[in-house]
């Protein structure tokens, strides 16, 4: 695996060097661009491959890998006031989380449910749980087994902002995904 990585780096460096040499003329510029694009797409493929191979091992070892994983599940699913049903704007987020989970079958996540400050604390804890469970149900319909989706609720106890306006309140009405170590 590491060998592949080194080879990749060399290839990339070589590609970049090539760019440096050919600086005159338009045709070469176009060609440069194209090769840069080619390089970028190749790079992406390489990265995907790397992760694919990582998945097989069932663990994220490096910080970069971890960062990438967190990135994949970093977006929160937002909810309407007093509601826990999945909105249409939440679907793309859940879809991508499902995709990531499906390509990393060794991984588990916790879905945290949260609420804004306007309800009362105990009922908000229960509502937060409902939101987390709604997200879990959606993901399980996309093939993610619920054994890998843990549920947790924090109600209004862990807000991401504290202003008393709709913008902040909307941010707090969320299902948040966290990697299980």
């Amino acid at each position: 695996m590491k060998k592949v990585f080194i080879i990749l780096l060399v290839v990339i460096a070589f590609g970049c060097a090539k760019k440096q040499i050919k600086t005159t003329g338009e045709a070469p510029a176009v060609k440069e661009q194209k090769s840069a694009e080619e390089m970028a797409s190749k790079k992406k493929e390489m990265v995907d491959d790397k992760l694919y191979t990582t998945k097989k091992e069932g663990d994220i070892a490096t910080e970069t890998e971890r960062a990438a994983a967190e990135q994949a599940i970093s977006r929160d699913v937002l909810f309407d006031y007093d509601q826990y049903d999945i909105r249409s704007d939440a679907r793309p987020i859940l879809d991508s989380v499902a995709a990531w989970m499906n390509s990393h079958r060794g991984m588990s996540i916790t879905i945290e449910g949260h609420c804004d400050e306007r309800g009362t604390n105990e009922y908000n804890l229960a509502l937060g749980e409902k939101r987390a469970k709604a997200a879990r149900e959606y993901l399980s319909l996309l093939g993610v087994s619920s054994g890998r989706l843990h549920i947790m609720t924090y109600g209004e106890e862990k807000p991401v902002c504290t202003q008393s306006n709709e913008e902040c309140w909307q941010k707090n009405r969320r299902a948040h995904f966290v990697l299980v170590k």
Binding site: Y123, L125, A126, E129, K130, E157
Partner: protein
């Protein structure tokens, strides 16, 4: 023959009739006199008075002696006047029905003498000396206030009771307690996120819920310092309600899917599920006589207050106004429930009779939640964000006298009033 008999009878009859006849006549005339003459007999006048002219007993409180006496007087005044039962009369102005004199002696610790005089009937109704080895002026003053309250009203005072609450410090939500008037705050247990707490019936324990390692656990903490015991843990959300006089805990758990109400003996730890609904059932509280449980359910589509028997039967809805009613709390006599109802986007404190009638709104400023009655039913504690940071407030049960008792720089919520201090 018969004629003779008749005359004979007449004669004898005549002779014997006279005395008897006169006796009867006398008797009758006496009867007539007794029963007939109106002006000589008892003429009663009935007067009707249907409501008191004054609802506050006028009292005057005076002190003499060392500086402690002034402090004691201050604390006793705050205690007694907050109940709304007494009004203050300046010492030199007449009109007080009760006069209280507080005197202190210079000493190592604290020594005070209190005299309570009945200004209407005359005479002392209380004469008592108090001594404390250390300078614990507040506790001593509250004891004095309790004794005065008891002698004048016949009822136990609440001035030594405590309020447990959740304080938010550096992101940690921890369980604290303080005197009923906000002094003497101290932490009960350290936690990352504690909530849903309540006193045991005898005031010796506190039950609460805490999140740790992505799990919600219900704990029992012994205030005498014997430590913490796990009462219930499972997957899902577990929130403690309260402990009844029969030592049973009621709580809400979503271990089987959506949150339902359970009851469990705290020694036997044998939870029994008593609600079965699709929605959310949370915030259960035993009534003071342990026969009923009030709780919150959104089985109708939105959260409302319900009451059921402690075995889960006889569920009936209590609140019908508004579409968000939560946080029920029983009055100590079991006749009323205080709760938080959302109106115009904010939560306000309401009280309602347990049969659902006579609903009254007590607050209208800011967002107010988590009401709790004092053990004599005269006061209600609650939390409010009306002054910026959420803090603990107290008021009379009719909504008067709303006052913040936690410092402004502290974020605090969810007051729970202890039973009488024994």
């Amino acid at each position: 023959m018969s004629k003779n008999l008749r005359t004979a009878n007449k004669k004898t009859g005549n002779y014997n009739k006279m005395p008897l006849l006169s006796i009867v006549c006398a008797l009758c005339s006496v009867l007539c006199v007794l029963f007939s003459s109106p002006s000589v007999s008892n003429a009663r006048v009935y007067l009707d008075i249907t409501s008191p002219a004054q609802r506050k007993i006028p009292i005057s409180i005076n002190h003499k002696g060392t500086g402690d006496a002034a402090t004691i007087e201050e604390i006793v005044k705050n205690d007694l006047y907050f109940t709304g039962i007494f009004s203050d009369v300046s010492p030199n102005i007449p009109g007080a029905e009760i006069r209280i004199d507080i005197g202190t002696e210079a000493s190592e610790g604290l020594e005070a003498s209190v005299t309570v005089t009945d200004m209407v009937e005359g005479g002392n109704i209380l004469q008592k000396n108090y001594a404390a080895s250390g300078k614990i002026v507040r506790a001593l003053s509250h004891n004095i206030a309790n004794d005065i309250f008891k002698i004048v009203t016949g009822r136990d005072g609440i001035f030594r009771t405590q309020i447990a609450y959740i304080a938010d410090s550096a992101g940690k939500k921890e369980l604290y307690m303080m005197d009923w008037d906000g002094y003497g705050s101290r932490r009960i247990v350290s936690s990352r996120l504690a909530t849903s707490h309540n006193w045991s019936y005898d005031g010796k324990y506190i039950v609460y819920s805490s999140e740790g390692n992505k799990k919600w656990t219900i704990y029992l903490i012994d205030l005498m310092g014997a430590g913490k015991e796990t009462l219930f843990q499972s997957e899902g959300l577990n929130l403690a309600g309260n402990i009844s006089s029969g030592n049973r805990l009621t709580f809400s758990s979503s271990k089987d899917g959506s949150p339902e109400i359970y009851v469990m003996d705290i020694k036997k730890k044998n939870p029994e599920k008593i609600t079965r609904s699709y929605g959310i059932d949370v915030s259960p509280v035993f009534s003071p006589d342990a026969s009923k449980i009030a709780f919150v359910s959104d089985r109708s589509g939105a959260p409302q207050i319900y009451i059921m028997n402690s075995d889960g039967g006889g569920v009936r809805r209590v609140t019908f106004e508004g579409n968000y009613n939560t946080s029920p709390a029983w009055s100590p006599d079991g006749s009323r429930l205080a709760y938080a109802g959302r109106i115009n986007g904010k939560n306000q404190i309401f009280v309602i009779k347990s049969d659902g009638t006579d609903m009254r709104q007590l607050t209208d400023t800011g967002s107010n939640e988590e009401p709790a009655f004092s053990p004599d039913g005269l006061l209600i504690a609650f939390d409010s964000d009306r002054d910026g940071r959420r803090g603990i407030y107290i008021m009379r049960a009719n909504g008067e006298g709303q006052l913040r008792i936690t410092p402004r720089e502290l974020t605090a919520r969810a007051p729970r009033w202890s039973p009488y201090k024994k």
